[in-house]
Amino acid sequence: MGEVIVITSGKGGVGKTTTSANLGCALAAEEKKVVLIDADIGLRNLDVVMGLENRIVYDLIDVIEGNCRLKQALIKDKRYANLYLLPAAQTKDKTAVSPEQMLKLCESLKEEFDYIIIDCPAGIEQGFKNAIAGADRAIVVTTPEVSAVRDADRIIGLLESSELRNPLLILNRIRPDMVKRGDMMTLDDVTEILAVDILGVVPDDESIVVSTNRGEPASMDKSSLAGQAFRNISKRILGEDIPLMDLNAGGGVFSKLKKFFSKTMA
């Protein structure tokens, strides 16, 4: 019986799609059966980031409307044993699906897959409500910026009132050099406001831009620092206790963990 995880943020552009793609690949690399669902109807991106857009025949709306069977719409990623993508429609919008329909879809996918990762659109309206409808847990992505944290706080409030309690946080695009200069919020600053547990911290990395353009998620790239962070996050989802990467980011968590672990994870 699978687990449905929604990746949400409130704010746009903080890294939900990037996170969804990378976590999907990393979990698949750990031999799990994973399906990615792009819930951003009308502004689909997950297919592009995954490099699978030219293989789209049917999409989420086709499945909901009964134009095809679920299996026909799922695109199998050839790079992994068990990674599939259910793309969104580009010619419709978020009113084309209801929360009940999303819930039904997730229930049927749960029987076949270990992890169902839903890429939630930005905002708090219909798209968001659709995306969280079938979710068992939520991961909130934010960048260390005041505006993103403000929106993340709002989203966490909405998640909590939708019974998706204890969401986990991914702090994305952190720049250790700026943190050191005092120009960027630290992990502690962010968690002080949001008061949720940290799942991981991902550094700002040029390799993300490159990998997005190529359609090859960074978690597949051994030399990418951000990719390493996503691989660590996926291991934590699977229950392993991996310390946060030493990014010299400052803030209590890093220095505390340094004392416990003598070698830094490569």
């Binding site: 403000r150 929106d151 706080d153 709002r154 966490i156 409030g157 909405l158 406001i193 008061a195």
Partner: protein, 212 residues
């Protein structure tokens, strides 16, 4: 005591004011009242009359009784606006102290977009994050960091105060005064500055913040 002095009918532009003696018992008044009503019946006839009671504070029950006595003889209704303004402050004071005494307690933090509006005072056991809004007719106390929008005494009472363990609201309002903490004085902007429990109050039409 002269019976006639207990109840006096006074004709006004918009109806009649019935002046009731303060000292007499209600029963005594009722008696005299009924007699006076009968006497006045022929004078007022069937025209619609607005009635105001004055000289003595009546309970709702007592008012109803007197109006009832009048209604059996004439076409009366209680005046919508009390003409004797002396009655007014007493009534609103009572309502207000009742409201301030009604306090709502909220356990847990308020996230951005969440708000509490209360016709009384508010106590929050937790933080109030930026983007959260507290509006109270009375006082506001936050046992945590107050970073959101806060408005105490929202019906115009500037004797209300706002208190928090860490008072760094985005914007602060008491009654009709709106302001914010200037950046150079805002503890939020000063790294490692110690925070103290503080409270904000109004003096001379300005908001001051003092340590508790």
């Amino acid at each position: 005591m002269d019976e006639n002095g207990l109840v006096t009918f006074k004709g006004k532009k918009n109806g009649i004011t019935i002046i009731l003696d303060k000292a007499a018992t209600f029963e005594e008044l009722k008696d005299v009242f009924s007699k006076k009503v009968l006497e006045a019946r022929s004078f007022f006839g069937d025209s619609r009359i607005a009635v105001t009671f004055s000289g003595r504070v009546l309970s709702q029950g007592e008012k109803k009784e007197l109006l009832g006595i009048m209604e059996s003889s004439m076409n009366v209704s209680e005046a919508a606006k009390p003409e004797d303004k002396a009655d007014l402050p007493l009534v609103t004071e009572l309502a207000y102290s009742q409201a301030v005494n009604s306090t709502v307690f909220h356990k847990g933090s308020l996230r951005s977009g969440q708000s509490i509006k209360h016709d009384g005072s508010i106590v929050v056991l937790g933080d109030v994050n930026p983007g959260a809004i507290l509006t109270a007719r009375g006082n506001i106390i936050v046992l945590g960091a107050l970073k959101g929008f806060v408005h105490a005494g929202c019906m115009g009472d500037d004797s209300c105060y706002i208190s928090a363990l860490n008072l760094i609201p985005t914007q602060i309002r008491i009654a009709d005064i709106i302001t914010y903490i200037p950046p150079e004085m805002n503890v939020k902007n000063i790294k490692n500055k110690q925070t103290f429990p503080s409270y904000a109050y109004v003096e001379n039409d300005r908001i001051y913040i003092a340590r508790l």
